[in-house]
Subunit: 506 residues, 2 copies
């Protein structure tokens, strides 16, 4: 019996950890309208029109529309309480558009041209036959803004309540550490709201899209969770679900679907290697050695499955198989993956040590050293203080960061490398907050704590200054409409992998 | 205390009679597609593409669409069971269009230009986040056809079930009398299906639109019900609801809304006068004299409220107040209303007699005679055998029919009148089945039973030959797109007032 044949057991254990979600009502803060603004993110910001209380003073006719700002990004279902004014002899027909960002709330979705399904955009056209009435709509939205267009109404309609019944595994955000500046306290709060909104029955990547459990995101969520909510049950459940969804070769998926039942999603070679570090983090936090031992063989298996991608010299092959995510940008994956592999091996070694598997620990440590030495010997340009990736010797930030995180270099060397890469024109910089997180870790390792903090202030703080109250999936300052999917409308504005400033600020 | 101050009591009694609806699943008969056809009603008919079983053999991609024919017009909610084929990483977005008629199923609703709310058209655009799954949609439709457009799908979707969970107070249609020809048996069946689909928690006028309880429709439904389902509880409940919704003057509304709570709808002077005949029919069928006595003062009150509309000669004033429906056409209402008033008085007189109110009976009978004599004296052209209405002495079919039904003329005179009006060019003929019903009654009174039957064969039979499996709200042979509301899309194809051939055929 291979160890990963215990998938049914893992699934059962995961299901026993399924959280009861918290539910709470969120009322609008204000009636708002989007306005074009050169300085605003995506050229659009919300202008207050009236306090929310004004809503129920106003009767809307056919063709009218309004937008409410819930004051906070939340995840949940809409509850509408509506009453007719005047004639009330026919149904009410509404178009509802839920949006995370002002631009999204203002856009005409018919122009959507992205590569991902337009069905992720959060709009419906529905009819309500009997008014007055209170209606809870079935679809779950991730939203801060809700636009309601009154397509048809008998005469007029008043909205006595427009609420989100918010839902998440946790509700209240822990207060920021007292020592933080107001700016950093705001960053911390936005980070934890991002995390909170992704904490559903599993750790989702983004509650608007894709609502999936990604191993790479989970690792970062687990770290932010350890610094805040400390709901390790949800981390354990998520990790067990990933384990339970591994394939017959023992390959842990990069992501899984959990509804209506567990399904294996994409295979992602870097994420699979991060199973071991994620497990290590959990065992360290909870002391649950039994769980650790249980999943350890599966963690080892991820490296075994990756090993054919390493050549005789101990270097990741240029033509390594599989999808190495690393970041949403086109750059060579060799050295980032070299770093991830070593990083994984070191976590395996530490886990083995913790479990008293001395020989196993020695084996993993030796393999990590072999890969680290190969990297230093063949791919490190000691003169330029840069790591070169792929057949062209490409320099990317990710290609420096992962080897640093893998402990291939001393902190002093790491500092030189991180300062050197800044000077390389055209070196691919981090695109997603996921990669930015790893840069922060690298700065910390290199003793560049101030640089890390300045980076948080500049990068995540930049989102806050642009109005974010959850952190975005994609943020490249100045590139407002950048999207990995061909249309910024589909970008997620509340994305798990962006929540990690909380780890550094706490 | 005025008698109609007992509205709360009537409402309570009505609520105690609220029926438990029957529910049953209706599966599609076939996959169909609309095709243009010069001979078809509204130039559109459905062509079979494949038996319904073919549906679950087929996977649909984005941009695909299909239409199913449920084989029978029903009222209910949709249940969809769907499963993904191939990639399943994003929601399914559908446009659902439920239709009673082929033309409606084929039309682009964005071109709708009618006067009634477009929200009555039965379409929604909704998203389903998690597949496979079974979904019951909240809206109640009246439909025979369902068009599903797959707006977005991850890869493909299979519809394992597309059902209507039908609902009505009754389910099975009584078999037609054995003596009927196949053609008339078909008419009977369509009539009873029409009635069945309108028998919900009240007797609705039309389950697509307006879903209201109209007193005029109720009277005809009650007659067809007496000849078939004999669910007098629902008639009593409906009549009590109308009584309970009367205003502080005791005016019974022409129609009421019952959801979410009882509301007075339009005032309709002819319908209000028909409260007494409707009550009389019910008491005659059930023998429930107690109910009759209870509501009798309210029935009298309708005539009292109308009486200011009658002049010193005993004729309905040209400038009588209020909306006299009579039929969906522009013609003078004086003589139709004269007939309705006398008709009402005679019912009151018979009720009073039944209850032993001798003096009251005498009073109503005398008033009926006064109005009848006035009509004969001032408005009957004995040479032309025609009744003249309004200041211009207008001749309309309704202006002949209602005085005949009121018993102002002998059967022989009635025959002369009915034959004479056929020869009057430009005389407004019946438009709706509601008025056609009264023509049938007039023919029967006049001893023209064969003419009545031929009329059923031609008029209602005409709808059946055009594919109707429920009778329509509006039918003027050859005028396919006629609508009282500016767009035939909004016409109801299952309308209570069209169900009465069952009274004549049974």
């Amino acid at each position: 019996m291979r160890d990963w044949d215990r998938r049914a057991e893992w699934l059962e254990r995961a299901e026993s950890l399924k959280p009861e979600l918290e539910h709470w009502a969120v009322e609008p803060r204000a009636l708002v309208e989007p306005e074009f603004c050169e300085d605003a993110w995506q050229k659009c910001r919300m202008r207050d029109l009236a306090p929310a209380a004004a809503l129920r003073e106003r009767a809307f006719g056919g063709g009218d529309s309004f937008t409410v700002d819930f004051g906070e990004s939340v995840v949940g279902r809409l509850r509408l309480r509506m009453r007719p004014v005047g004639r009330n002899d026919s149904p009410l027909r509404l178009r509802l558009t839920a949006a995370e960002l002002p631009y999204e709330a203002s856009a005409d979705f018919s122009g959507y041209h992205g590569g991902l399904s337009r069905a992720w955009l959060q709009d419906e056209v529905v009819n309500f036959d009997i008014l007055p009435g209170e209606f809870v709509l079935p679809r779950r939205y991730s939203l801060r803004y809700l636009k309601i267009e009154i397509l048809c109404v008998a005469e007029q309609v008043v909205f006595d309540a427009v609420e989100v019944i918010a839902e998440a595994a946790v509700r209240d955000l822990p207060e920021p550490p007292a020592a933080l500046s107001p700016e950093r306290a705001a960053i911390d709060r936005v980070a934890l709201r991002t995390l909170r909104n992704c904490m559903q029955t599993v750790m989702e990547d983004g509650p608007k899209r894709d609502r999936r459990l990604w191993l790479g995101d989970l690792r970062l969520q687990a770290r932010a969770n350890a610094a805040s909510f400390r709901r390790f049950d949800l981390i354990e459940r998520s990790l067990l679900l990933l384990a339970a969804a591994s394939d017959d070769d023992g390959r842990v998926p990069g992501c899984i679907y959990t509804e209506p039942e567990l399904r294996h999603g994409n295979d992602t070679v870097d994420y699979a290697l991060l199973f071991a570090p994620t497990l290590e983090d959990l065992v360290r936090e909870t002391g649950d050695v039994e769980l650790g031992r249980d999943l350890y063989p599966l963690a080892v298996r991820q490296y075994e499955l990756f090993r054919p991608g390493i050549d005789a010299d101990g270097l990741v092959r240029y033509d390594m198989e599989g999808w190495a995510f690393i970041d949403w940008a086109a750059f060579d994956r060799q050295m980032p993956m070299q770093g991830v592999a070593i990083y994984s091996l070191r976590a395996l070694a530490r886990l083995a040590e913790r479990f008293g598997y001395a020989e196993e620990a020695q084996l993993r440590r030796a393999e990590a050293e072999r890969l680290a030495q190969a990297l230093r010997r063949f791919r490190y340009d000691a003169d330029r203080k840069l790591i070169l990736s792929g057949p062209e010797g490409e320099v990317s930030w990710a290609g420096q960061i992962w080897p640093i995180l893998a402990g291939v270099f001393t902190p002093e060397e790491a500092r030189e490398i991180l300062l050197a890469v800044e000077q390389v024109p055209g070196a691919q910089r981090p695109v997603t907050p996921y990669m930015h997180h790893h840069l922060l870790e690298a700065y910390c390792f290199a003793g560049l704590r101030e640089k890390a903090e300045a980076w948080i202030d500049s990068y995540w703080g930049g989102m806050v200054r642009l109005g974010a109250d959850t952190f975005w999936e994609v943020y490249v300052p100045g590139d407002d409409f950048l999207s990995p999917y061909g249309d910024a409308l589909i970008n997620s504005a509340c994305h798990a992998w962006s929540c990690t400033p909380a780890c550094f600020l706490r």
